[in-house]
Symmetry: D4
Subunit: 248 residues, 8 copies
Amino acid sequence: MGRDVRELLEGVASGAVSVDDAEIELRAKPLKDIGYANIDLDRQARQGVSEVIYGEGKTAEQIAGIVRTLEDHGQPRVLITRLASDKADEVAGSGVAVAYDPLSRTGVVGGVPEPDAPGYVLVATAGTSDMPVAEEAAITVEMLGCRVVRAYDIGVAGLHRTLARVDDILGASAIVAVAGMEGALASVIGGMANCPVIAVPTSVGYGASFDGLAALLAMLNSCAAGVTVVNIDNGFGAGYAAAKIVRA
Amino acid sequence: MGRDVRELLEGVASGAVSVDDAEIELRAKPLKDIGYANIDLDRQARQGVSEVIYGEGKTAEQIAGIVRTLEDHGQPRVLITRLASDKADEVAGSGVAVAYDPLSRTGVVGGVPEPDAPGYVLVATAGTSDMPVAEEAAITVEMLGCRVVRAYDIGVAGLHRTLARVDDILGASAIVAVAGMEGALASVIGGMANCPVIAVPTSVGYGASFDGLAALLAMLNSCAAGVTVVNIDNGFGAGYAAAKIVRA
Amino acid sequence: MGRDVRELLEGVASGAVSVDDAEIELRAKPLKDIGYANIDLDRQARQGVSEVIYGEGKTAEQIAGIVRTLEDHGQPRVLITRLASDKADEVAGSGVAVAYDPLSRTGVVGGVPEPDAPGYVLVATAGTSDMPVAEEAAITVEMLGCRVVRAYDIGVAGLHRTLARVDDILGASAIVAVAGMEGALASVIGGMANCPVIAVPTSVGYGASFDGLAALLAMLNSCAAGVTVVNIDNGFGAGYAAAKIVRA
Amino acid sequence: MGRDVRELLEGVASGAVSVDDAEIELRAKPLKDIGYANIDLDRQARQGVSEVIYGEGKTAEQIAGIVRTLEDHGQPRVLITRLASDKADEVAGSGVAVAYDPLSRTGVVGGVPEPDAPGYVLVATAGTSDMPVAEEAAITVEMLGCRVVRAYDIGVAGLHRTLARVDDILGASAIVAVAGMEGALASVIGGMANCPVIAVPTSVGYGASFDGLAALLAMLNSCAAGVTVVNIDNGFGAGYAAAKIVRA
Amino acid sequence: MGRDVRELLEGVASGAVSVDDAEIELRAKPLKDIGYANIDLDRQARQGVSEVIYGEGKTAEQIAGIVRTLEDHGQPRVLITRLASDKADEVAGSGVAVAYDPLSRTGVVGGVPEPDAPGYVLVATAGTSDMPVAEEAAITVEMLGCRVVRAYDIGVAGLHRTLARVDDILGASAIVAVAGMEGALASVIGGMANCPVIAVPTSVGYGASFDGLAALLAMLNSCAAGVTVVNIDNGFGAGYAAAKIVRA
Amino acid sequence: MGRDVRELLEGVASGAVSVDDAEIELRAKPLKDIGYANIDLDRQARQGVSEVIYGEGKTAEQIAGIVRTLEDHGQPRVLITRLASDKADEVAGSGVAVAYDPLSRTGVVGGVPEPDAPGYVLVATAGTSDMPVAEEAAITVEMLGCRVVRAYDIGVAGLHRTLARVDDILGASAIVAVAGMEGALASVIGGMANCPVIAVPTSVGYGASFDGLAALLAMLNSCAAGVTVVNIDNGFGAGYAAAKIVRA
Amino acid sequence: MGRDVRELLEGVASGAVSVDDAEIELRAKPLKDIGYANIDLDRQARQGVSEVIYGEGKTAEQIAGIVRTLEDHGQPRVLITRLASDKADEVAGSGVAVAYDPLSRTGVVGGVPEPDAPGYVLVATAGTSDMPVAEEAAITVEMLGCRVVRAYDIGVAGLHRTLARVDDILGASAIVAVAGMEGALASVIGGMANCPVIAVPTSVGYGASFDGLAALLAMLNSCAAGVTVVNIDNGFGAGYAAAKIVRA
Amino acid sequence: MGRDVRELLEGVASGAVSVDDAEIELRAKPLKDIGYANIDLDRQARQGVSEVIYGEGKTAEQIAGIVRTLEDHGQPRVLITRLASDKADEVAGSGVAVAYDPLSRTGVVGGVPEPDAPGYVLVATAGTSDMPVAEEAAITVEMLGCRVVRAYDIGVAGLHRTLARVDDILGASAIVAVAGMEGALASVIGGMANCPVIAVPTSVGYGASFDGLAALLAMLNSCAAGVTVVNIDNGFGAGYAAAKIVRA
């Protein structure tokens, strides 16, 4: 954004841009207002990634409308997260070519790109039930052009399961550690890994897991240095951060 | 308690005990009321262990009074927990032969007995700061006649530290796993051990550890089957339970 | 696990095992990866009990697959917990001989073994509504070869109900005390019993019970020494721990 | 208050009271504004008890001023709660004849009255550390003209201690049950008593007692019908309610 | 209970009761075990009120069974609380003559008795939505033989609504103040009333009411002396306590 | 209310009003009791706005009854909030001319008035999902005769979206800032605006948003001076307060 | 800020301002960086009020430095909040003419201005202990040129105290209602007042007041429409908002 | 760690290492047990950074001992965090050449290295009071060989302060965003930045900030994609993660 300020001011100084136009452009340029949403058409330029649509709380019609606006402005690929199965059908029914994955509840328009970044992101889970969140992370990483290695069901109560994947842990450029219940996987991986580790607490568990709070608190208090944490069940956020690290 | 009911009733039936005496004895016998406390003189018989004095919130004078009452009734050893250093001095000053340990903040009257139970209790900690709680557990175990093996500072963020003690873990009759912060030690030990594991969350940590809540929740949600948990910083309770298991 | 390390190293030293094979075996041996799960085939040897399947969040197909893998590797009995009634029908429909108990929501494959351990585990509840959790505990104890005595609906607000079972309390090798609401049963039993007491808070209650939090906190703060606690509604965990104690 | 409305209106109707005077009196009569406090001079008439001064957050000077205002308006006895020891000295130093009790941290002006109500209030505690709160309740009851019977240190982990006082429990007109930690005393007494039971959670405990929250929640969830609860450490409130019940 | 101890002991002493019989009777007498419940047949004698059945978590069949057992032992009236509408139909269908009230979700067997206690209990609510909880309290009071006066929708945000009922407030023997949201009604009534006030927080509200927590905390912190509190939505408990006060 | 006290007293003094009538009128006048509700017919005179019906927890019949009572007493417009779609149909079916808006879940009887207050209230949201709450606020503002400008989906993670509406922010007489998740919109707008800003946290989000708690806490801690906050999802309250400010 | 954007752009277009200068000015103009703080010199122009210094966490030296910088840039009056007594002495000792008020813990440089706004802000408290917070609000209001009327110790448990001030409530342009414990004052005043009411929860109380949380929740759930809330003990924020309303 | 397993096994296979030695080395090699701590001498090799000493809860003597052990094993630089001022004096007094920084409460042995990584880490704070946490992060980054740019007191309530640093934000390789109160800085920076953003909530604030909980929750719910979070006040963890990202 800062970069545009100067460019615009130079246009005004040279007479190429009027004051009125400059002010309007300064404020409205990267936005496309389609009534129910202010679509950010400039994000790919600004942040290196295309717009991602958070599907929850949007109608199929709204999602389709945003996808079309993005396509009209030259964005080849769109990721839709937290997309319910029936809503995905509606979006597809309205003519948008969306590929839907029921496990991660994501939709992809324009296909998953070939990886163009070095290394890989390891996405690990403590248990089988953590897989939907892990897959949301994995698909996000892949949509941002990075390679993913999966290591599922390697929770620390069966430590040999964790140790069996030690080479994958040591070779990764970034790790997304997904776990519910007591979330100890993040600390064990965090202590072994050479790369940044992003912990994702999940709402897997019952009783005093308090819908993921136990895992969240445990991960925030990890005794392994440098583990960072995202919101409960936020596979997208972790995948996004991991891809940013790999691409940096 | 149930056992005494029958005995007393038989006394009444045989005429050896009057109704009035029976009722009084039924209710008051195992108690010695010394004004500020109802001392349980029967616990050693009933539960196999002597009375333990919780020192917090009692004056040195009260503690000394309870010790003397116990001694007068033939209890050779007394353990005092949560005993502040200056209060211990006062108790000693009043003529009670108390041996004070500043790390665990415990006082022992009558000495620590020789172990007379088979096997050992492993008391493990994640970090150095967990040692005061661990020592409270260890001394409790020893006062109850069991042997203790200590494994301190073996937290899972440096997993080789935990693995280095695997033989001690596999050989124990009961394990007390003491950890603050994210409390992951309990899950890793719980997954390896063959014996009952009692987890003690500690208030070690800051911020979102919420004075031990993070570790407590993590331990309650441990994915390792059969781990049980006591209150935050409750080394005494864990040691007591471990000794009960070993002696069982 | 530690024990295998040495055995394997001796094989390498003697030439009986190659370095490559040793490394692979060291990491992967006790695991059977069937895609959606890392099955622990070594647990019976390592911890003396067979694998237990946590049914929640697994499909009937996945559960059946894990059971078959365990059977193929010689595990005669399998316990499935938190198994919904309709999922149990599906598992049975796919050819797995599972006996389903709707009250405890458990499935048993291979039958409940004859008790081969001395003594008994007393499973007590405060109220009738605590019975599903208590039965999960009881079946877990029985699957691990121990005998169970049940004492249901003996909550302390009708103290004579508790006292009526005092002999069962005094004779037990381990006690599982199950209670919702204010969870006081654990303290009263804990004060009477000679054996380890494991408290299970349940989500029975409303309002300020906060889905079992009130009972959980009460049990963690029990004034009866040596009471340990498991997660809310975690009958399995309590039963597992109790059986471990009895078998120790 | 409602009663005065009519009386005043009749005065206006009869001409005995002018409209202006009526309005002023209607609003200000029972109040004496001394700058830092609106003293309620009418409470004794309205609610049958004299004003009680909550000492916390008031200076010794302010407390003395309020006492003198009350005395000037004919109130023979005043109770001051939550009065720190040094502040009590200051109040006494300023010429107010206050009798201070350090255990309950209360001050009494004008002496404790002779009981003039039938029956007694039983004030019971689970432990010795609950005594300060219990004494605040007891003195409040006595200041309101009722008799108190004390039963301290009768917590349910030593059930024979509770049962030893069963006659006192059965004979009471109202019971104040004071307990920290898991607060189970309220449920056990509530199940035995014939009279209203008011439970006072105390902040006695540590860790997951969360400064009395565990006891508070337990008491609110008591399975004994008809137990009511006051704020943590609120001995005054419980005593006040108990006396109101006895006097009703 | 305590009274029976002596009586029984005298029987033993006189030879009228054998030791074996005494012990059995001492423990089991007031209980009727019908498999799924320990029914307390002695409560009417012991506490002056008949057994109340908490309907939640019990099947229609179990409820009908308990009612019949009580009837067989001469209890003329039974109150069933938290009884769902369809379950009430089932209970009635099994031949139990239950009168069901859908607003309070209570069922009454044997009819509501004529009031035989002096005075009345005022049951007040802040809003219309608090009525189900208030009616549960009112019916409980009536079942215990006391008269009820209702004052609904008199919340303090329209203070004239509260003041309009001041005579009812001043004349009551006990008051049940029912309110959700911020629960201020308890403080305003508590400040005006001459009698004990029992506050019932309700789960009425949204957002930061946290299902009644806001009202619960407010009521526990009421600045009106002597207000006591029961669990969220616990109309039964409040009514039970109020009737106990009136009958005392 | 205070104003009427004097008027009434003058009537009594002059003989125009009898004491009995005065007392009745003093208490009951502005209320119309229709069984299930105390309708406040005087609010328009007293507070300048008509009664608003909170639809949740009231039957369609009750709502229709209250509307008719208000119409009978000369109130031309009524706003019904939190009105479910099917209940709105029932209300309309019973003959009440209600205009229903499904987005804000509000019903309007008597039409929205023409704005008669100067300036405008800016209603802003962080995201599209916050729109239902924002519209409840907007309609409330309009029903109270003020003009609304809407600025939706201008969350601060795309700061240019916020800045694009800076003129609307600077020109407003009051601002309602509606946001879920981290609620940062309130702080950014609060730092720019010249007028009072009312923040509305919404329950939009998941995981550690804890149903709006995260946004609520963030807004209460806003570093922008003078931001005030209402309950989670309380669009009505914010709109009401904003209109009060504009009309002041 | 928006206003300056246009002005600056016009300068650039006219050649009066160079592009480089414009960019620098655009970003840095209203800020004075003095090492430890970015002082906002433009706030008086932008928001109509002078900078307020939050004294907590700043050294006396830093506070004095900020005051001097503001004075150097022509700001005649400065308010310092949360200023400890000894720090105020230090600030004064360094030559800054600060008038300190120990009750509200505020310092004023340049004196309190004469009121130049119509009407008054009523600042009311439930109890005497709420006065420090109330005085912080009052002084903030006065520093912003508005008149204050104080009504202290008028809590609703003595409702006549509240009613005695009804004329002050009805005449106010804005009300700041300050209360700890159960915070009911806000609802009662909110129901009577014609103007906006800002509620300030205070940390006055103990036990389940949880340092003001009970009052905060109660106020957020106020059944009086249009009450808005600020952070616990945030007298400054409430006064600031109230003054903004009065000046609007 | 995995890498050493193979190397060691090859040694055993070749006869260069005996089985006994291999097992011991496998477990104990990277550890130096000095009684009170298991020092990790291998971390620099394993994770590329030297051991960091968490000073809280360790005595000066213990800290000095660990530093000397590290120095003896060739680690040139040591960082000590959370080091109290007086303890730092003691450490220095015992002959360890520690450079102490009171603001960040860190000690550095062996000096801060010259940066040898490309780019820079931007460390930003919302306010002046967040500086201690920010400096802990900054020194950690520098100790790991990376360059730091500081941007302090740029909170979003004065948005021009944030915008003034937009070039620093856009040019960074990683950003540490430090904020207390409502923590909105993370979202605004997260929306502008091209690089990974690590948010650090601080305990700066009062009342409903709940010692940093408000900022923590806000940051976890940030609407800016890819923001990750560390524990409250955990400057070290954020700096460590940022440096790992830059060095990756």
